[in-house]
């Protein structure tokens, strides 16, 4: 029998039992739809995180002291032996590259911050006015850190939104003094609520001039330096210049690590893609359940059509042809159910995107072919056993059953 006719024959025998055919297709459709919807959820999460992460800054390079052989999202976490510190002078020297627009040196420490009777532990960032620009932070009130020579310690600070609220409540914080560690700083600005940045809550930070932070924490080195390249295309050149400058300043030793924001983004991207695949695979399991249902229905179909199978054999159908007819039936069930499920899934994703416009739901391109492929593979795979049972029926016994 020709391939097209085999499918047509299969489709007609399915049409002879509309209710059970529809129910089986529904099961497949739910599975395929779930693959689509869950992968859209995972993809949405990926896009959400990537978007948020990109908001940290644009064309960013992160310079870390110490040479890390391990590429990863945050090499700063496993900086081991640091042969030489990254100094403020190093950071300022990076501005000589024509590919670098801004450099923000960063010193990090933790210190108690208090005002009057209120005190809390806060992350203290020492930097320059450039930090706020590199990171695209917004000020809710007041002004940025003073411009000018970053080597000069000044007793001023910016408060994160949470810190400001906890220390001042409803009082206006601008111009007031707070105590950070054993020093006093005057509040000149309050950051707008920002959310997370590189795993640290910006809202719970205090920003002071870099020289003040170095004095506060009694350190001469930097935690890192944030470098903004002039453009996306300039990132690679900026990276080369940063490495060259620092090698020169460190007597030929390459003892810093430069992580580009691209690389960090790529790491997040990879992780969340894997998550999406995992979600899709979980949904795929529901498709295998649908496959078992197909097998069940096909077994019932074989049992109910023994006489017909006997007849086909008497008319000269080979066991292989009988098997093909039943596998085709399972395949048609799976394909029709899968396509319906993809339709339902795409509709649901569209609906979700309208209901929650802030979350970027989107079915990844591979989800529809994957859903259909898994549905087909499952349907056909589970259709093989019933088909072989049909092919092996003894024609005399089969014809005798009515």
């Amino acid at each position: 029998m020709r391939a097209g006719e085999t499918l047509a024959f299969a489709a007609r025998s399915l049409a002879a039992h509309p209710a059970r055919t529809a129910l089986t297709m529904l099961a497949v459709a739910i599975g395929a739809g779930a693959v689509l919807m869950l992968s859209a959820l995972g993809e949405g999460a990926r896009r959400y995180v990537v978007r948020e992460f990109a908001a940290l800054g644009t064309n960013l390079l992160i310079v870390l002291p110490g040479r890390s052989e391990t590429a990863g999202a945050t090499p700063g976490l496993f900086v081991g032996m640091t042969p030489r510190e990254l100094t403020l002078e190093d950071a300022l020297a990076l501005l000589r590259s024509p590919h670098v627009r801004r450099v923000a040196p960063v010193v990090v420490g933790s210190a108690p911050v208090s005002r009057g009777g209120r005190e809390r532990e806060a992350t203290v960032l020492g930097s320059t006015a450039e930090l706020v620009r590199v990171r695209h932070w917004r000020l809710a009130r007041g002004r940025n850190l003073p411009e000018g020579d970053p080597r000069r310690a000044q007793a001023v600070c910016l408060l994160g939104a949470t810190v400001a609220r906890e220390l001042f409540g409803a009082d206006p914080p601008l111009g007031q003094w707070v105590r950070i560690g054993d020093r006093r700083f005057r509040v000149i600005g309050v950051l707008a609520p920002q959310g997370f940045a590189l795993g640290v809550k910006v809202d719970e930070m205090v920003v002071v001039p870099v020289a003040s932070a170095q004095a506060l924490f009694d350190t001469s080195g930097l935690f890192r330096a944030l470098v903004e390249a002039r453009s996306r295309e300039a990132i690679a050149a900026a990276r080369r210049d940063v490495l060259a400058t620092l090698r020169e300043r460190h007597r030929g030793e390459e003892d810093v690590t430069v992580v580009t924001q691209d690389a960090v983004l790529a790491a997040f991207d990879r992780i969340l893609r894997a998550l999406t695949y995992a979600l899709a695979a979980l949904a795929g399991i529901s498709l295998s359940v649908a496959g078992i249902l197909i097998m069940n229905i096909m077994l019932i179909s074989v049992a109910g059509r023994r006489a017909e199978i006997g007849l086909l054999k008497a008319l000269g159908a080979t066991p292989a042809l009988i098997a093909r007819l039943f596998v085709a039936e399972a395949g048609v069930l799976a394909a029709a159910g899968g396509l319906a499920g993809i339709g339902i899934g795409l509709g649901a994703v569209e609906l979700a995107a309208r209901l929650y416009p802030l979350f970027p739901f989107a079915a990844p391109w591979w989800s529809a072919p994957a859903a259909l492929g898994v549905a087909l593979a499952g349907g056909i795979g589970f259709g093989v056993l019933p088909a072989r049972r049909a092919a092996r029926l003894d024609p005399v016994a089969a014809l005798a059953s009515r």
Partner: protein
């Protein structure tokens, strides 16, 4: 055309061995009209199934057109059935969801003939059994006699040289039974097809030129009219 040598068929039913055929030797020449009669359980249906390659003998040899077909695998037997043998069953065995025309087309479809060739042949076969007007009807819209005529059209559309009919009138009233038998006999006469009819109806059996009587898995006598 057909030569059976020492054919035995033993079934195991429960723990018991049942000898449906106990050493059958038989020769049927091309173009013969043979009836096989006997009481229930005499082995006449088993004989027909063996002749139709639907069942395999436990022992003995079956030569079809001089070729030993006993040991052929299922696919080869299927091809022989498709090309050489047409079946007519007591219960018609039409596919209920297909029209009369599609039922007649089915063997050609299985054989992989192109649709352009199938359609006119199926129409001609239906016309030959007097059902050209009923081509679009489904089996449940046809009378018993009409259904059996569709089945005969299906059995003959591949132009087989051997027609095996198992109680072809067993499920029909007298008038339509007579029509069906006369149709089979006409096709046998006009096309020279070998016709083997299994029946327990003496009136039908008597019509054949050669009559075989079976009892306990053996052929008792062959009567030449």
């Amino acid at each position: 055309m057909i030569r059976l040598e020492g054919i035995e068929r033993v079934y195991r039913v429960g723990g018991q061995l049942v000898r449906a055929l106990a050493g059958v030797d038989l020769e049927i020449a091309a173009g013969e009209y043979v009836s096989v009669m006997g009481p229930s359980g005499s082995g006449k249906s088993t004989l027909l199934h063996i002749l139709g390659l639907l069942d395999r003998p436990t022992a003995g040899r079956y030569l079809l057109d001089g070729r030993d077909v006993t040991g052929l695998d299922e696919a080869e037997q299927a091809r022989l059935r498709r090309e050489t043998i047409g079946f007519v069953f007591q219960f018609f065995h039409l596919v209920p969801r297909l029209s009369a025309l599609e039922n007649v087309e089915l063997p050609m479809q299985i054989a992989g003939l192109p649709p352009a060739e199938r359609r006119p042949r199926a129409e001609a076969a239906l016309a030959a059994v007097g059902l050209a007007e009923r081509a679009r009807h489904r089996p449940d819209q046809l009378s018993g006699g009409q259904r059996q005529r569709v089945a005969i059209a299906r059995a003959t559309v591949m132009r087989p040289r051997l027609i095996l009919a198992d109680e072809p009138t067993g499920n029909l009233d007298r008038a339509s039974g007579r029509e069906v038998v006369e149709l089979l006999e006409r096709l046998h006469r006009e096309r020279g097809m070998t016709l083997v009819v299994v029946t327990h109806d003496p009136e039908l059996g008597e019509r054949a030129r050669r009559r075989l009587h079976m009892r306990d898995g053996r052929i008792l006598e062959g009567t030449q009219a």
